[in-house]
């Protein structure tokens, strides 16, 4: 999707996010300026209610932009319609699926919908993309199982495969590690890092796993006190951005080990 002169997949310009109710605008975070390039893994971090989900919903076109601009592969998000957007952004949400009676293969294949004909018939290219996505996340062994037979960890991988099959330059994930044990949390985030390297897709996810994100991500976006801080993990640590992320009477940031410790 990107032109030769730039490989920026997502760019925001002085973006404000929040809710609009009749005449009342409730801004949650303002002045967000981020730039995500191809192949980058970026985490959005903040306490509960800091605006992580609101940001992801705004970037994926579900929620209205309050102020500023969002550019997806250089085209203005507010001027892009749903069918065009579906070829640029794929999602992995925390929303429960209506039906888990689909097989893994069928669910992943639904990712091809933006490209298929009126009845959703898969051609050879679609099938190839589906199988490739399944191989990338290592779920070949369960591809014929029904989704309700899977563990949470397996199911998360299936959802990621579906997003990959959609073949977009940007994948947005909302808390992909909730409900998972520590091993699977690390596994899923490591997988995302690998995928961003191998497929050159930009991957943006919201997470509470700050310690893991610090080790794996190329860049971090910290949402705190209605403001946004964006940068490389090391730069953010050096600028002491993490020090007052949580109330300091309980948790503090240990600069030496780049992780949070309980007092």
């Amino acid at each position: 999707m990107s032109t030769e002169s730039s490989n920026i997949v997502l760019k925001t310009d002085n973006l404000s996010i929040g809710y609009r109710k009749k005449n009342d605008t409730h801004i949650i975070v303002s002045g967000i300026d981020i730039e995500i390039k191809e192949g980058e893994l970026v985490a959005v971090i903040g306490v509960n209610g800091a605006g992580k989900s609101t940001l992801l919903r705004t970037l994926s076109g579900i929620q209205q932009i309050l102020r500023g601009k969002v550019f997806i592969s250089e085209s203005d998000l507010s001027k892009t319609d749903a069918s065009e957007l579906s070829k640029n952004i794929s999602l992995v949400l925390t929303e429960q699926l209506i039906s888990k009676n689909l097989s893994v293969l069928e669910l992943v294949a639904l990712g091809r919908q933006p490209y298929t004909n009126w009845i959703g018939r898969l051609n050879k290219k679609d099938l190839k993309k589906v199988m490739h996505a399944i191989r990338l996340v290592n779920i070949e062994d369960i591809k014929n199982k029904k989704c309700h037979e899977l563990s949470d960890g397996q199911f998360q991988k299936v959802l990621i495969a579906r997003a990959l099959a959609q073949d977009t330059s940007l994948i947005i994930l909302d808390e992909p590690t909730t409900h998972l044990d520590l091993y699977h949390k690390a596994y899923v985030l490591k997988l995302l890092q690998q995928l961003s390297r191998e497929t050159n897709k930009a991957i943006l996810f919201a997470s509470h796993e700050i310690n893991l994100a610090l080790q794996l991500c190329d860049k971090l976006l910290i949402l705190k006190d209605k403001k946004a801080l964006f940068g490389k993990p090391l730069d953010l640590i050096n600028s002491e951005a993490f020090n007052d992320l949580f109330p300091s009477h309980l948790i503090h940031f240990d600069k030496a080990s780049s992780s949070f410790k309980i007092k």
């Binding site: 994926s60 076109g61 579900i62 749903a82 069918s83 065009e84 957007l85 579906s86 070829k87 952004i89 794929s90 999602l91 949400l93 929303e95 429960q96 699926l97 209506i98 039906s99 009676n101 689909l102 097989s103 293969l105 069928e106 669910l107 294949a109 639904l110 990712g111 919908q113 933006p114 298929t116 009126w118 009845i119 959703g120 018939r121 898969l122 959609q166």
Partner: protein
């Protein structure tokens, strides 16, 4: 999609079963006509007795076609509603269509006594029933569509449909309370439903509505599949949620509304058939489910009609009682064995 090929065989079997039950449906009745004669009459060959040909072409064939249209139409609307409202207990009548139709017909039957006898004669012709129930359905339909345009939440539409259902049911019971017994009885007879009263002209009109409704349903298959993921995912796949919802409601209204107008409020088929089909074909994919439900609905209705005719006897039972007699145990059975509930 992928697993669809696996079910092609099942779909072919279902289709053949439709033809077979159709032939038996035409063959059995107060006069039993051999299947061989039914086949030759339908193909335009000579039949042993001229009366048989007359019975088949003017009475039993239109009734069989009505059974196929009613069964498949209601079953497809049930499937559409279950997917749209993410609710296994939704059916074609959750939009309040049948209660709207009942209100229209109740007004004709029981209102006639209020307006006087001369007016009643005009009102009680067959077409006025069709028109009244259509108007009743349309009224509720417009209210639901207005709500669906205003509302972002699909669940709210479900609640509004149910509210309309109880509202109109309440008006009907008030009317019934003040009506003389004879008119009340006519209304009750209408509510039993009937497949056999349609002339060829009426079958053709009903068939037109059916074709449009089925075509819209088939056109919605891709979007129905995306809805299996939930509305947010569907939108991210490029589905226009509001337009899709609107098309599904229109298809359901055309099917359930026209069927109720011509054949009366037939219960349970819409709710039960999609579940029955899912037990046979455990797929969530609408590419498979839509045709399977069309065939399944037609088969169930043809069988119910055979039973209702009590072959070999002079009597026939109300079709609505038969569908419910079969439908209710099915729903109970489904809920009891919920552990393997495919939805």
């Amino acid at each position: 999609m992928l697993s669809q090929r696996k079910y092609t065989f099942a779909l072919i079997i279902l289709f053949l079963a439709v033809i077979l039950t159709g032939l038996f449906n035409i063959s059995l009745g107060s006069v039993n006509i051999p299947v061989a004669d039914v086949t030759s009459a339908l193909l335009g060959f000579e039949v042993d007795k001229d009366t048989w040909r007359y019975i088949i072409l003017n009475y039993r064939l239109p009734k069989a076609i009505t059974a196929i249209i009613t069964g498949s139409g209601l079953a497809v609307s049930g499937l559409l509603m279950q997917t749209l409202f993410r609710n296994p207990l939704a059916g074609p009548y959750v939009l309040g269509l049948s209660s709207g139709a009942s209100l229209g017909v109740a007004l004709v039957f029981m209102g006639a006594s209020i307006f006087g006898a001369s007016f009643a004669a005009i009102l009680l012709s067959k077409w006025s029933l069709v028109i009244a129930s259509s108007l009743g359905s349309l009224l509720v339909l417009f209210a639901v569509i207005l709500a669906s345009i205003r509302l972002r939440d699909t669940m709210a539409i479900l609640i509004i449909g149910l509210m309309f259902a109880s509202l109109t049911a309440a008006i009907v019971s008030v009317l019934a309370y003040f009506s003389p017994a004879s008119q009340l009885q006519q209304y009750v007879f209408w509510s039993y439903g009937s497949l056999g009263n349609l002339s060829w002209n009426e079958v053709i009109i009903l068939g037109l509505f059916w074709i449009i409704g089925i075509l819209i349903s088939i056109g919605s298959i891709k979007n129905l599949n995306s809805l299996l993921l939930g509305e947010q995912y569907a939108r991210s796949l490029g589905t226009n949620i509001k337009r899709n919802r609107f098309m599904i409601i229109i298809a359901t209204s055309l099917l359930a509304g026209s069927i109720t107008a011509f054949a009366g409020p037939i219960a349970f088929v819409g709710l039960a058939v999609p579940h029955l089909v899912r037990q046979v074909i455990p797929s969530a994919n609408h590419v498979t489910l839509v045709p399977a439900v069309i065939f399944g609905g037609a088969i169930l209705m043809l069988i119910c009609d055979i039973i209702a005719q009590l072959p070999g006897s002079e009597f026939s039972l109300p079709i609505n009682a038969i569908t419910s007699l079969i439908g209710a145990p099915v729903v109970i059975w489904l809920l009891v064995r919920k552990r393997k509930f495919n939805f």
